[in-house]
Symmetry: C2
Subunit: 587 residues, 2 copies
């Protein structure tokens, strides 16, 4: 090794020892007679000391020639510092350097390699290898390694076996868009990159593997929104001879173990909520349960406390639903107007926002006083179980739209009221998803999870009568309002699988061509099985208390799917295209 | 869980316990009044017992309806067996079944799910999910999991950090052919799949990560020979602030640890051999050192014991080189002729084979007696340090060809003499590879390892004078004649890297376009670094004592790069092609 120690490990117990350190020059303070230099590596910072008269002249000369980010090797004795720094692990000591070597010079980096950098997103992506030197980014990747390590430890311990499934597979029209790979040896044919190893893990169950996992790259050629990556990583899992309950317990165990090992947090028991309740109480299938502010329907399936008073907006709406924002009764008119405008933006599309102030003095004031008596409003307050000081905010629309809008408002109010602390973790299972959802544009049914998801046995008859009512044995894990994982009990009988493909609009031939191998496999003794997959990048970002997954990926792509560091994708040669039997056709 | 136990864990201590097992019907023996059924899962076999008069009639009916590979659930009490089977872990007990349920029926599988199967390669690949049920295949994948697990444990323990590098990268003309992926969002542009994460791991070193590893899928679009796969897995590693010696020690440690943990074998210290010696003594850069039979050059750089005696074949050859096959002096003329023919096949291309029998009675007999006196031949015997009973086999050609041919003969003789026991492991480091090799066809120099490999510092001046003589700080690990890993100390100075690209025929512009990001990175403080990558599939096959890597991959492709199970690659729709701005062009 070119070094005897790292820059993070020396302390008073090492005083007088001769050491060699290697690393990057973080900063140099030249006070004339004395020079201090902070040397940095992955493990920490160590201060180097150069002193006129004591340090050899040629070493001083080299020290004075160093710039930021030079890579150096320094030899010297560990000494106790006069003025100690208790902010860093090595703050009690410094190195009196006797030998100094420049291993590699460095041009001035285009942004500061500090916790607080002056580099914008674009420049940091272009020079990602410099960004990786920053503590923040390095710690994110170290966290990622820890999450992976403890995931494997937990699953290995339960007799799961990690099996690698292929990356070059087959394109299927169901689901998101595939990335494809032209085959040179099979001209005119293409592989596809997997959106998930779904069918392969099911085949592993048919193959008797019984408990499988894989931390695996997956690919989706979707239009990228902020924080979506064309390649992403999943913790992919499947089990045989289990019920939904076994999956929930096993993977609640995984998450509890990760919180314990990685964050030192002992989780409460993970509550469970049906999809129907989640939509009713939060207007979302991934509610943020760090705070309550549950929906109350003044007009809905259960009751109608709004109609017949002459307020057309409510009278004509399918649903009037609201939240009670605690302590917000004192919002000014301006604040309420601003909220109303926020709700009316096209991204949310509310037609308006009705408020009821429940003042601390017990009085009530509303924007619809004209239509509703104080007695009416008091009934609303009772329905909300509101407290003096609450501000009730109401939207009216058809049920789907009203819930969607109010979900946004609830999250916004949660943020404004500081109820969404990233260090507070609320984990939730959402259960009993609908099996199918109707695509208005395509005028057909789609699988809400995927076509291999089993309907609830008690709902199977509904497949012939009321597709929209069929519930699936499907489940999502939600942390702080983010879906981190999801899965389902799978179909394992050929007939039911065929029926599902039929419902999804596959002809028998199409189903056979695309998924024949799986349906054939079901005929040779497929066990009951179920599984789950976690979004690994997302899980890491939540453990890191961050919003963006990009910070937890070593070399992410931008929103155009481009790696600006290596400048990819790029053109390839005509020779390559010819070998692959394809032509570019930018019509 | 649908079961209380697996089929591999019950024993006498569980007698009288009521259990539920799930699994596949391995076989049924119906002796009229008694039926025995072997139930199989991933963990083992357990015998189920059904008895006329004791077992409920409806259970007997179901039992009689079962076929091979039916998936069943059986409930009953554990009882001691009358006739025990000490070949299986559960051989002392059986289950007296009281409840039996068919979870899924099975068609008769197209081949026997037994250790010795009647299924050929093709049918087993098509029904890989059934092949996976066989012990042999399952154990290979379990071994693979163990090798991965212990690799991670060893490296984690040394502060290595696993970092995922991208799969959608950029095509580069150097090296093997890339698989490419058309970018929909960047029409006319393509990603490439990585042949290895080489440049990314070097950038991680520039980013200060210092000790990196990854067990990672890599891709090469090469014409497939037996036992090459278009996608394969590497254990990819890189370290900063190290010398070659540190890499050799760290990864010798990895291999020793794997042998210990996975195989229970304590390895001897791993010997080291230069490339030059490997070629001289074995005619190969990956010698099988389980046996000696080293080459002796009768005519070569050191000596010439053959010329001037009127034997034109030897006189005109650049090299006469041979091996002494122990105990083979008694080979019949027919056997020697057969060996000669074997050597003259086009795959080897020898012009002939000269033999010298050193009989046990001390007499000498050769196919070139006519030209060489007994005294001449005795000198050869001394040169070989041959023992009575040895058969010396000689080839003559230019040095490269002669060595290549003799390498094949040596391995063949090793096999024939039973000297290549798969349970005997000899690990070897081969060092000091040439930096460059000349491509006659292309009339230019190629990097023997890759363009990022550092020349030996003492050979750097030769870059200007004698490219063929420059040795690299590159190393391979060889086990039993198979290269399992290789790596090098890397170039970390921009100027040297530029010079390498120049030598390899890149124009300055091409080098900048393809690898500019790396050379730029070298300007911002790149540390000295070095690394290695192991072929994970190959390593697993060696640990499994097998020749083929295919048996250690869950879903391998055939020699045309085709997955015959899912029938991939396949055609994609015109709509997909259009979205990707490409057209198939099978001109």
């Amino acid at each position: 090794m070119l070094r005897t120690h790292t820059c993070g490990e020396l302390s008073l117990k090492d005083v007088n020892q001769e050491v060699v350190l290697c690393g990057w020059v973080q900063r140099v303070r030249d006070k004339g007679g004395m020079i201090w230099l902070d040397l940095r590596d992955r493990y920490g910072l160590t201060q180097l000391l150069f002193e006129e008269g004591k340090t050899p002249a040629e070493v001083l000369d080299i020290a004075r020639s160093l710039g930021r980010e030079f890579v150096i090797s320094a030899k010297g004795a560990v000494i106790e510092r006069l003025s100690k720094n208790d902010k860093i692990a090595t703050g009690d000591i410094e190195i009196r350097v006797t030998k100094l070597q420049i291993l590699n010079a460095a041009k001035l980096p285009p942004f500061l390699i500090e916790d607080e950098t002056d580099g914008g997103d674009d420049i940091r992506m272009k020079y990602r290898y410099l960004d990786l030197r920053r503590n923040a980014v390095r710690k994110n990747l170290q966290l990622r390694h820890q999450v992976a390590r403890h995931t494997r430890a937990y699953l290995d311990n339960l007799d799961f076996i990690e099996v690698e499934t292929p990356v070059l597979i087959k394109s299927t029209p169901e689901g998101a868009r595939d990335f494809v790979v032209p085959s040179r040896m099979n001209p005119g044919e293409f592989y596809a990159l997997p959106q998930s190893p779904q069918t392969f893990k099911q085949l592993l169950m048919v193959g008797g593997f019984d408990r499988y996992y894989q931390i695996v790259k997956c690919f989706r050629d979707e239009d990228l929104r902020a924080d979506r990556q064309p390649e992403f990583t999943q913790i992919d899992c499947e089990m045989s001879f289990v019920t939904q309950e076994d999956i929930l317990n096993t993977f609640e165990g995984l998450i509890r173990s990760l919180f314990k090992e990685v964050k030192g947090i002992t989780l409460d028991e993970v509550p469970r909520m049906t999809y129907a309740d989640a939509m009713r109480l939060y207007g979302s299938d991934k509610p943020d349960t760090r705070f309550a502010m549950q929906f109350v329907e003044l007009k809905g399936q259960e009751q109608d406390l709004t109609s017949g008073k002459g307020f057309g907006v409510f009278d004509n709406a399918g649903m009037v639903v609201g939240i009670a924002a605690p302590g917000c009764a004192e919002y000014t008119r301006k604040q309420v107007d601003e909220l109303t405008e926020w709700m009316k933006r096209p991204q949310i599309g509310s037609k308006g926002l009705v408020y009821v102030r429940y003042n601390t003095d017990g009085s009530v004031k509303s924007s619809v006083d004209k239509f509703y008596s104080e007695e009416d409003l008091k009934k609303w307050i009772v329905a909300f179980d509101a407290k003096p000081g609450d501000l009730i905010l109401l939207v009216a629309d058809n049920a789907d739209k009203a819930r969607k809008q109010l979900n946004e408002l609830r999250l916004e109010m949660g943020s404004r009221l500081g109820l969404r602390n990233p260090d507070d973790y609320k984990v939730l299972w959402v259960l009993d998803f609908p099996l199918l959802e109707f695509g208005e544009a395509e005028n057909r049914w789609f699988a809400m999870h995927h076509p291999f998801t089993s309907p609830k046995p008690e709902d199977i008859d509904l497949l012939d009568t009321n597709l929209g009512q069929v519930r699936a044995n499907a489940y999502d894990m939600v942390i702080n309002g983010v879906e981190v994982g999801g899965g389902s009990v799978r179909i394992f009988a050929k007939e039911l699988q065929q029926k599902m493909f039929e419902i999804l609009g596959f002809s028998a031939e199409e189903a056979q061509e695309q998924f024949g191998f799986l349906m054939n496999a079901f005929e040779f003794g497929a066990p009951p099985h179920a599984g789950i997959a976690f979004g690994f990048d997302r899980l890491c970002s939540i453990f890191g208390g961050a919003d963006s997954i990009r910070d937890f990926i070593a070399f992410p792509k931008n929103n155009s799917g481009r790696d600006v560091m290596i400048d990819s994708p790029s053109h390839i040669s005509d020779g390559q295209l010819k070998e692959l039997s394809i032509r570019v056709d930018q019509a």
